[in-house]
């Protein structure tokens, strides 16, 4: 590894996970550079969500290892990291955006409290500062500041998703995991949210691992794609290359089925 090619931010080797003998993820290896957006696509049940959960430490792999380059430049094996450090990492340097905002938000806590939680978790003890930061982030995700004291239950689906993004980005993470962030939203809301995510990712230089079954989302946001089927990675490459010139028969089917629609 020389100075011209910096070590990847996240590097997974031979990840496997089975649920009761039923393999969901088989021997998956991948690497992600800082500022890079990687889309994991595939049909339902192809193992893409399992892979995301493995990468983000929400599941423990049966085999394989994951290394993450910390802010000090040292790559660490996540499995060997103490739990306290891993949890601190997950709520400062990482983010996780769920498809269902109710899983990623505290639904009985106001928007300001939701955004402020991470700040308070890392020692923020000045109410005025926390609130100002929360208001600033609401603006950045295009939510009116006068909704700061409303609970997410009073928000629309698109607003909840934007709030979830703000809550994750408030500690300036370097890596964000997204699980179908636009799933279940209507088309115009989806387009606006994608636009917002693309803008934030570019502004903040975020690395993103994005799980989606929607190839349009992958094309719009990602630099690289990996295609999964039955737990295997069957194709990977630059987004435009994979979508315009798919090599594997399954990818060809996937791409053509979207175009036909």
């Amino acid at each position: 590894m020389n100075a011209n090619t910096p070590a990847p931010l996240l590097e997974a080797r031979s990840l496997s996970k089975s649920y009761g003998g039923r393999p969901a993820c088989r021997q998956v290896s991948l690497s992600l550079d800082a500022g890079e957006v990687l889309a994991i696509v595939g049909e339902s049940g192809s193992g893409k969500s399992t892979l995301l959960n493995l990468l983000s430490g929400r599941l423990v792999p049966d085999t394989g290892s994951i290394r993450y380059r910390m802010r000090d430049g040292v790559a660490r094996d996540l499995a060997r990291m103490p739990e306290a450090e891993r949890r601190l990492l997950a709520r400062t340097d990482w983010g996780f955006v769920h498809q269902d905002a109710a899983l990623g938000l505290r639904m009985n806590v106001s928007a300001g409290g939701n955004i402020g939680e991470r700040l308070m978790a890392v020692g923020g003890r000045h109410y005025g500062d926390i609130r100002a930061t929360a208001a600033n982030w609401l603006t950045r995700v295009e939510i009116a500041v006068d909704r700061i004291d409303d609970k997410p239950t009073a928000y629309s689906g698109g607003m909840r998703q934007r709030l979830q993004i703000a809550r994750n980005l408030v500690t300036s993470p370097r890596l964000v995991f997204m699980d179908e962030p636009t799933g279940g939203l209507d088309v115009s809301v989806q387009a606006r949210l994608l636009d917002l995510i693309r803008g934030l990712v570019a502004d903040l230089g975020l690395a993103v691992v994005l799980v989606t079954h929607d190839l349009a989302v992958a094309r719009l946001l990602s630099h690289r794609i990996i295609v999964m089927k039955e737990g295997h990675v069957i194709e990977s490459g630059l987004t435009d290359r994979v979508l315009d010139d798919p090599q594997a028969p399954y990818t060809q089917l996937l791409v053509s089925s979207v175009l036909a629609a």
Binding site: R87, R106, V109, E117, M120, A121, V122, G124, H126, G128
Partner: protein, 313 residues
């Protein structure tokens, strides 16, 4: 059966003791939990809470702690919301008078063990006293994080950001920290603890207290403790510091201005009075001649009348 009848069927203070058969080790088990709780201030120690001859919510946790530490020479005081004469206090006091035949008192200064629900006595506690709290819900993070596995991890890793989210919500909604009871504290710079539903007025009394403070939650099966002279800090924000609530009126019976007051509605015309919630504090002040604006003249205790006459002369 009168209150003083010896009850040969029962072990001393109801719980079975280690001197009996091997299985009868309830007291030993609870004492071990208490010792562990004292060793790790503010940490909730799980214990095998027993069925008590009273319903959950009536102080089964406090009763088990008291039963485990009670000795024949102890003098017991039981208060409920500060009062010695409410149902809960009377029945628990009677319970120990019957099963342990210990002396009971209502005077804070005379007691060696004080079991309490929702208050800390106004009188300063001393090193030879133990304060036993009845705790309904020991987990301060419970209302924000319902998973026990998660809250335990949060305690283990000192992840207490969530506690401040609760206070943040208070300020966002009410403009100030509106939590008025069960106000969370950090014990000895480590564990965040629910002080049971005492008013936050009482929170400063826990800090550097010379008496041992024990907390028992029967239904939730947890015991925790604050050893004597331990630092107890109420959580707050830099720009919204912890404030002890004050009353703008004195006690209507004893004229005290420094005690925690209960508001009592006296009629349906909007009439009300504020009186000390600590009945022993109020009575001992009145015995010393302090008078509030609504204290009736009769009946006056002979001793009071004499002192009043002397004062008039």
């Amino acid at each position: 059966m009168t209150g003083n009848t010896p009850m040969a069927d029962y072990n001393f203070a109801y719980l079975d003791e280690q001197t009996k058969r091997m299985i009868e080790q309830t007291k030993r088990m609870i004492r071990r939990a208490i010792l562990k709780a004292i060793a790790v201030p503010g940490y909730q120690v799980p214990f095998a809470s027993r069925e008590m001859p009273m319903p959950y919510g009536w102080g089964t946790g406090g009763v088990q702690v008291t039963a485990a530490i009670l000795g024949p020479d102890d003098v017991l005081k039981v208060i409920d919301q500060g009062a010695d004469d409410t149902t809960n206090a009377v029945s628990i006091r009677a319970f120990f008078a019957r099963t342990a035949r210990v002396a009971v008192t209502t005077a804070t200064a005379d007691a060696t063990i004080i079991q309490t629900r929702h208050r800390i006595p106004e009188a300063t506690l001393t090193a030879d006293q133990v304060l036993v709290y009845q705790v309904p819900i020991p987990e301060p993070l419970r209302f924000l994080e319902p998973r026990e596995t998660e809250t335990r991890t949060m305690h283990a890793l000192s992840e207490y950001g969530l506690m401040h989210v609760k206070l943040y919500e208070d300020i966002a909604r009410h403009g100030h920290i509106a939590t008025a009871y069960a106000y969370p504290v950090q014990v000895a710079g480590r564990y965040v603890m629910d002080p049971s539903p005492i008013p936050k007025f009482d929170n400063p009394k826990m800090d550097d207290c010379p008496a041992l403070q024990l907390f028992g939650a029967g239904r939730e099966k947890r015991i925790y403790a604050i050893p004597p002279h331990t630092r107890v800090v109420s959580l707050d924000f830099e720009d919204h510091p912890f404030e002890r609530n004050r009353f703008d009126v004195p006690c209507a019976l004893c004229g005290a201005t420094d005690s925690y007051l209960d508001e009592v509605v006296t009629d349906d015309q909007g009439g009300r009075m504020h009186v000390c919630s600590d009945t022993d504090h109020c009575e001992s002040r009145r015995a010393k001649g302090h008078r509030g604006t609504m204290l009736a003249d009769e009946p006056v205790h002979p001793a009071d009348r004499r002192s009043k006459l002397e004062a008039a002369e």
